[in-house]
Structure formats: C-alpha cells, structure tokens
C-alpha cells in the first residue's frame, strides 16, 4: 500500500533524533489518531534553516513524512519553509494511500510550530 519511496524513508529516516539548543521547537499531536511529531530547527542569521531534527511516535507514513519534510526544508529560508504543505510532502513521497493522507499533516504542522517558536523567540 505504500510507495517504495515511503518505505525507503521509513527504513532510513533522515535527520532523526534530538538537537541541542535548537532555535525553534514544535510539537504536534494528530487529533485523528493520537500520533505525535516533534521538530527542532537551527536557523542562522539570514533566516536559513541550517539543521533540522525530528522525533515521531506514529505510523510508517508519519515517520516517512517527517523524514521527507526534513530533507525538503534544510537550507531553505523560514519564510519559504513555512509554506510547505502536507500535499507537497505526500507528493514527494510518491503519494500516500487515501486513509493515510492525514499522516503527512503531522510533520508539516510540527515544522510550522517550530518556525513560529523560532519567530516568537526573535521578538
């Protein structure tokens, strides 16, 4: 039911783990299933996301989406990164089964929360 790309990211997730002194942290629970993703970002003076890490309690799709998202985000400006949608994440994974589409929300929303946390800290 999952694409090869999903399985590949699931088995070899990129950028998984914790981060010391992140510039922003976001944690989102999926209301539909109770799964939880945490995202940590490191942002440089120009607003570029230099590093990103995630941790997920969730299904295969949630883990693969988190991993894919971190790849898409690294090196991008926060203003750009915040616009990444769950649909783009799913598309980059070669699609998700319909009942699993909500799983890609988790990563995208956690990133948005992390960027908001970063921006709040800048104020």
């Amino acid at each position: 039911m999952y694409s090869d790309k999903v399985m590949e990211h699931f088995n070899n997730p990129r950028n998984v783990g914790d981060m010391e002194n992140p510039d922003g942290t976001g944690e989102i629970g999926n209301v539909r299933c109770g799964d939880i993703t945490k995202v940590f970002i490191k942002v440089n003076g120009q607003g570029i996301i230099e590093d990103i890490r995630f941790r997920t309690f969730g299904c295969g799709a949630a883990i693969a989406s988190s991993s894919m998202l971190t790849e898409m985000v690294k090196g991008r400006h926060v203003e750009e990164a915040v616009k990444i949608t769950d649909i783009e994440v799913a598309d980059n994974l070669g699609g998700l089964p319909p009942q699993k589409l909500h799983c890609s929300n988790l990563a995208a929303d956690a990133l948005k929360a992390a960027i908001k946390d970063y921006q709040d800290r800048q104020k």
Binding site: F10, V16, G17, R32, K38, R55, F57, C59, G60, K100
Partner: protein
C-alpha cells in the same frame, strides 16, 4: 533466512493435500451438482461426502451443515436469519464488544432495523463473564452471539458455560468459531450451540468457503434467494473445489489437532517470553486461555504499524490491529474494549503462529523485534529522555 509467515490468523497457506483433493474439481469434474446427469451426480456425491465428514467432525448431522462463502457469510446468515425468523417472539440480541466485524457490524445493522442489541463488556484479558450474559437476558431475548476465540488477542471465551445459560433460558446461541476450528476441539454438542460459523482458510483450506451449522429444528430465514441450493438456505451454485478442499483440510486439522496444538503452544510461549523480557512490553489477551498460536504484545512508545513495516523489511509477516482494519487509523476495538489506553493499543503487534513455524524462526523474530523496537523508540517523540534509563 526465508521469509517468515506469522499471520496465520489472517489466513493460512493451503495444505498440499487439500490442493490435491481440489484439483479434479477444477479440471475434469466440473459438473454442476444440481444437474441430473452423471457429470452433476458425481460432483453431488463428493459434496455430500464432504458434508458428512464436516458434520461428523463437528459432532453434527449432515442435514445441519450449510456451505457458505466463508465466515462472514455464515455469521450474517446465522444472526440476521435467526433474528428475522424469531421476530414475533422478541427483538433482543446479546453479543460482545470483542466480536469480529462480521458479527458486530451485522448486529449493528439489525439495530437499525429496530432490533435491540446489548454489547457486553469484557475484562482486561478480553474475557466475557457468563454472569453478564445471564444478567443481560430479557424476556424478549432471541439470540446470543459470542465468538469462540478472539482473532486479535486469542482469548478463548467460556462458550460452554454461556451455551448452558442460553439453553436454560431457551435462547438461541450462535458462535463464531472461525478462529477456533483447527486450533481447539470444536464440537456442537459439548458447546451447547445452535448455530456455528467456520471458515476454511483459517485451517489451511482454500479461501472463500466456509459453513454454517444450524441445529435441527432451528428456524433461520434465508438471506439469498435463487436456485434453491443448500435446501433453499443459500442459493447459488456451490464453490465445489472450495468445499472439497475444506473437507480435506478439516480432516487433517482434526487428525493432527493435539500434536499441532502442543507444538504451537510451546513456540507461542517462547515468543511471548522473549517479548516480555524486553523493556515495557505487555502481553495482551488472556495469560492462559488463549489460542495456541496467538501472541499479541504492546510495546510502549511506538506504533504497531511502524513495527509491522520494520519487521516486514526483515522478512517477517505479522499484523497490527486486525487484518481487515489495518489501514484504518482507529486503534483496535478489541484492545480498547479490554480497557487499555489508546497509546498502548496503538503499540500492539500480533504474531499468529501456524503449523509451519519453527524454533529458529521464533528466535530470529525475537532478535528482529528487539532491533526494530529499539530503532523505533530511538525515533519516538514519546520515548524522549527515556533513552538512558
């Protein structure tokens, strides 16, 4: 190591001897058993011999056996058919919260038709209390439907005692014995049942065939209308190769029952013990009253589906939730009925062992589970900070 199959509660591989028995009926013996000519009569004879064999093994009479397309159809025929037949006597049905959807959803469909349905709770091990059944009985109760053994957690229900309670109150008793047949001795007399559903593909027979046992004198309305097969109870040309294969598979299952049960129980206990030696793992279902091949364990901080995929990558086939509902995002209704938290329910994985599993496979699986659980926990947002414990 070759791929390891530990999802025998979803379905089992077809037994070689059953396949051999089926072959002629896929080839030269293609007659329709309803035909009067020799082609038909030869097939009719084989079907009736299988009916006799199935009846004998179940402790029933051949006239009480109705072939179906599997467990789901047999459950539907039993529940809907009996409920409609007894409508003038009452409209109350008792079932349990851990039934397969083939029973649960059927009862809920009847509820929409105006029947009253009591769904009994279970204890932490997934067991129904026969006293709860007695207490739920009303003057208008017409049917009790309880599964013999649970497909997810393997818990074996006290069906004999519930059967006695049903008999004493003169209420029909249906059991879904789909998971039990081939794993436990199933006999309609000792179990006091009026209706019983089974499915061939759970005991190394072919898919898409099963049967409903209906005790002589029990009124059940037909659901399908047509050519009058199965004494008018189940219209439609029979699945002949399926029926023949089921007969052979059943014969083998019954002749090897004790031996297979003993072997599987020892493999099961080895796997359970190995899992429970891991950190924060918990056995779901009953500690002793469980199917000989069922292992259902929750690993905290991770998701069953993720564990399933990780094990699949290592060549091991297991299941999270039940086969039909994986892909849905609700935690299993069975695990939730045992009162555990949603998170623990989501961390559940089921291994259902079969005849073909070996000690070596169990040990390889334990190693793979340990690696996968560790890896997934290291990624889990819930496990954070627990790594050093």
């Amino acid at each position: 190591m070759d791929r390891i199959y530990m999802d025998n509660a979803a379905t089992t591989p077809l037994e070689e001897k059953a396949l051999e028995a089926m072959m002629p009926f896929l080839k030269e013996n293609y007659g329709n058993p309803s035909s009067a000519h020799t082609f038909g009569r030869e097939v009719r004879k084989a079907v009736e011999e299988t009916r006799e064999k199935m009846a004998f093994l179940l402790g029933a009479k051949p006239e009480e056996i109705y072939f179906t397309s599997g467990g789901t159809e047999a459950d539907n025929m039993a529940i809907v058919g009996a409920a409609r037949a007894l409508q003038d006597r009452g409209n109350h049905i008792i079932t349990t919260s851990v039934e397969h959807h083939a029973v649960l959803d059927t009862c809920l469909a009847l509820q929409e038709e105006g029947f009253e349905v009591t769904v009994l709770p279970v204890d932490q091990h997934g067991m129904v209390d026969p006293d709860d059944v007695r207490d739920a009985l009303q003057d208008n109760t017409i049917l009790i439907s309880v599964m013999h053994a649970n497909n997810e957690v393997g818990t074996i229900q006290p069906v004999e005692e519930i059967g006695r309670a049903a008999r004493e109150s003169n209420v029909l008793f249906h059991i879904d014995a789909v998971q039990a047949v081939g794993n436990l001795p199933v006999n309609v007399e000792t179990l006091n049942v009026d209706l019983l559903a089974l499915s061939a593909h759970k005991f190394y027979g072919p898919k898409g065939v099963g049967l409903l046992y209906v005790r002589e004198g029990t009124k059940v309305n037909r659901l399908t209308h047509g050519g009058g097969q199965e004494k008018g109870m189940r219209a439609g040309t029979e699945n002949i190769p399926g029926i023949i294969g089921m007969g052979k598979a059943m014969e083998l299952a019954y002749s090897q029952l004790e031996e297979n049960t003993r072997r599987m129980e020892s493999l099961r206990d080895r796997l359970i013990q190995g899992c429970l030696e891991m950190e924060e793992a918990k056995l779901n279902g009953h500690p002793t009253r469980r199917l000989p091949g069922n292992v259902n364990v929750s690993f905290e901080y991770i998701e069953g589906e993720a564990l399933l995929l990780s094990l699949d990558f290592k060549g091991i086939a297991a299941s999270s939730g039940s086969a039909c509902s994986s892909g849905s995002m609700n935690p299993s209704h069975v695990l939730m009925a045992t009162g555990m938290s949603e998170q623990t329910a989501r961390g559940a994985i089921r291994f259902s062992l079969g005849r073909h599993n070996t000690v070596e496979e169990i040990d390889y699986t334990l190693q793979a589970v340990k690696e996968s659980v560790d890896k997934l926990r290291s990624m889990s947002s819930l496990y954070q900070g627990k790594g050093e414990r």
